[in-house]
């Protein structure tokens, strides 16, 4: 790269190449002329095409983008935006992750709050996940020597003591060479996503949307999209249009928005959103998140399925009810999908033993409405729903009672605003659960019954350590739909708050209404620690030097 100290960089890189070569890990050559031209002055290239550091690293598009930003901001590299995009695209393909490697850390790119219970111990946690997500570490693959060099950089830059255990763990858990990458880097199919895709998109507080998305390839290899979505809850319809880049054959990164600026609030479903999707290796399905908000707190959970082309077989997308109670009669359910035939009869549907399809109320090519009875002794638990050969696994839960409720998300953050930052909101939902076959609550076999209607839930806030009944307006307010808005005044402090959902109609064994809670921290827009600022918009510390 074009740096002010090319001689020094050259000396450093030559030393590093010797060290990396002697480590025995074969590098991944770099052959792109732009990368060689822009990066080669510091990252020297050997006769086999290996460039110092770069050839012993692989990562996601976000990883390479972050590395480029660091080179630009810290090391003074000069790149035009098209050059930067080209370099990220090349490196994400040639030095990227296989789809199977990227999938476990997609939550990082999707900007989800995710419990990271996969950190092996406190020492690795301290080394890797005190200042950023563990997923950021596991988004990289490096040779042992390169993990060592990364640790040395952390030691010099952030004054973290060397942690050999973390280096050893990462060298084993995230090695440069893997069978998955060997297979993907040599055998990935051509990226051919153009066509019609079926969409389901769930937006917390709004319910589920479904529809179709038309994808067109552009001459420069990107994709344009037009997604027509319909609300299951109220039938409202809208179109989102967008443009996306696909990195490494599977990593969809784009933007889309509705036809006008949002009007109904910060969680408006028409809001401009970033799109992050993981496309399955066979390019038949994709899933991910379309998100927006000051802290990316709003988002559709999206699933795409390629429409079945010329096949006449129907496709099942979703059932509008996620649970049915034993002994209930004439439950009206909607099966939503594609290519349903004419003349649907009850015999075309199958929800398993104990559930009788009483009649088909109506049918169109995209929707079948039916009435079903559930026997009093129907087996409890998840049921597959079938229409001919199409099947939705575990689409409907049969239950006898709601045993407990949870509030989703179970831990959350919201933020006060200041002149430079919009508020950080949160949308909560109460989810019903039933004990599973083991009869115990809060175990792995418990059955999720789906969201409880907002009309059947009362929401309240409790600030930690405050006396019961205290006014909580100083942290914010939660509305009847579970939408939390932080207080307008920024008190420059953080508050731990219980978000409490009390069921109006579901009682526990003790005769009291079921209650669920989420742990929310309402916090400040900007953190400062030892002179360093944490910019949550960027998800990283911004510093003018090492912390003291």
């Amino acid at each position: 790269m074009h740096l002010a100290l090319p001689l020094l960089c050259g000396l450093v890189s030559a030393t590093a190449i010797l060290a990396q070569s002697s480590a025995g890990d074969e590098g991944i050559p770099v052959n792109d002329p732009l990368v060689i031209a822009k990066c080669g002055s510091c990252h020297a290239r050997d006769t086999r095409g290996n460039m110092q550091r770069i050839s012993w690293e692989r990562t996601t598009p976000e990883g390479w983008q972050e590395a480029l930003k660091r080179m630009i901001l810290v090391d003074g590299v000069s790149l035009t935006p098209p050059e930067a995009r080209s370099i990220v695209k090349y490196l994400s393909a040639s030095h990227g992750l296989a789809p199977q490697e990227a999938q476990p850390v997609m939550y990082d790119a999707e900007r989800r709050i995710h419990p990271e219970t996969n950190i092996p111990n406190d020492r690795v946690q301290h080394a890797c996940a005190r200042c950023h997500s563990f997923a950021r570490s596991l988004s990289w693959r490096r040779s042992p020597e390169d993990w060592k060099q990364l640790a040395e950089m952390h030691t010099s830059r952030y004054q973290l003591p060397p942690n050999q255990e973390a280096i050893a763990f990462l060298s084993k858990a995230a090695p440069l060479h893997t069978p998955e990458w060997d297979a993907w880097s040599t055998g990935a199919p051509a990226t051919n996503l153009a066509g019609r895709w079926l969409v389901t998109a769930s937006l917390r507080g709004h319910g589920i949307y479904y529809g179709e998305m038309l994808v067109d390839a552009t001459p420069d290899g990107d994709f344009t999209t037009s997604a027509r979505l319909i609300s299951v809850a109220d039938g409202s319809r809208f179109v989102r249009s967008g443009r996306s880049v696909v990195y490494a054959g599977y990593a969809w990164r784009g933007r889309s928005q509705g036809p006008q600026i949002y009007t109904s609030g910060p969680d408006d479903a028409l809001s401009e959103a970033r799109e992050v999707l993981w496309i399955a290796p066979d390019q038949s399905t994709a899933e991910g998140r379309w998100f927006w908000g000051q802290y990316q707190e709003f988002g559709f959970d999206v699933k795409l399925r390629r429409a079945s082309g010329t096949s006449a077989d129907p496709t099942l997308l979703l059932v509008d009810r996620s649970s049915l109670k034993t002994g209930s009669q004439a439950n009206r359910i909607r099966l939503i999908g594609d290519r349903f035939p004419a003349g649907v009869t009850p015999a075309d549907l199958d929800l398993g033993s104990g559930i009788t399809v009483r009649r088909v109320v109506s049918s169109t090519p995209s929707e079948v409405v039916a009435e079903v009875d559930v026997a009093p002794d129907a087996a409890l638990g998840k049921r597959d729903v079938r229409f001919h050969h199409a099947m939705l696994p575990g689409a409907v839960a049969i239950y006898d009672r709601v045993d407990y409720i949870k509030v989703a998300p179970d831990s959350a953050m919201a933020a006060f605003s200041d002149p430079a930052h919009a508020p950080g909101y949160q949308q909560f939902e109460a989810i019903g659960y039933q004990r599973g076959p083991d009869g115990k609550l809060h175990t792995a076999d418990d059955v999720e019954l789906g969201p409880i209607s907002p009309a059947d839930v009362a929401w309240s806030l409790e600030v930690f350590y405050a006396a019961p009944g205290n006014n909580t307006d100083f942290v914010g307010k939660i509305g009847p739909s579970g939408f939390f808005t932080p207080a307008a005044a920024n008190p420059s402090a953080n508050f731990d708050v219980w978000v409490v959902a009390t069921a109006k109609n579901e009682m526990g064994k003790n005769g009291k209404p079921l209650v669920g809670k989420s742990y929310m921290v309402v916090t400040v827009p900007i953190y400062t620690l030892n002179g360093r600022r944490y910019i949550r918009d960027l998800d990283r510390w911004v510093d003018d030097g090492p912390a003291q």
Binding site: I113, V463, N494, Y519, L529
Partner: protein
């Protein structure tokens, strides 16, 4: 949990009810309370056990006992089923300075005689 690690290092909290780690608790003296679990939250940034404690006069008061995060406890074998409503236990820890029925947990002794393995860091 992404981002929530920050909470432990924030130094800006001043208000009495703000998130304040150890500062909210009287770390000069431990107390032990025996009670019955009413709820358990296996979550970040802190796991919380809610439990009913009967005082000398027979009055029942619901207490909240805070532990470190689920991210820290999971590698030690904890799950959301580790503590169940109805469990009898004795919790030793630091009381909240402001008199709220809250504890910072140092030790959990179960009715079966076992101590749960915990991490006392904030």
């Amino acid at each position: 949990m992404k981002n929530l690690f920050l909470i432990a290092v924030l130094l800006t909290a001043q208000a009495a009810l703000a998130h304040h780690g150890y500062a909210a608790f009287d770390t000069t003296a431990e107390v032990t309370l025996k009670g019955t679990v009413t709820d358990f939250h296996f979550t970040n940034p802190h796991c919380v056990i809610e439990f009913d404690v009967k005082d000398d006069k027979g009055q029942v008061r619901n207490w909240k006992a805070e532990l470190t995060s689920a991210n820290h406890l999971a590698p030690k074998g904890w799950t959301e089923a580790s503590v169940q409503p109805g469990d009898e236990l004795a919790i030793t820890g630091y009381r909240a300075k402001n008199g709220a029925p809250s504890l910072w947990v140092n030790k959990i002794h179960m009715a079966n005689g076992e101590d749960l393995k915990i991490d006392t860091s904030n």
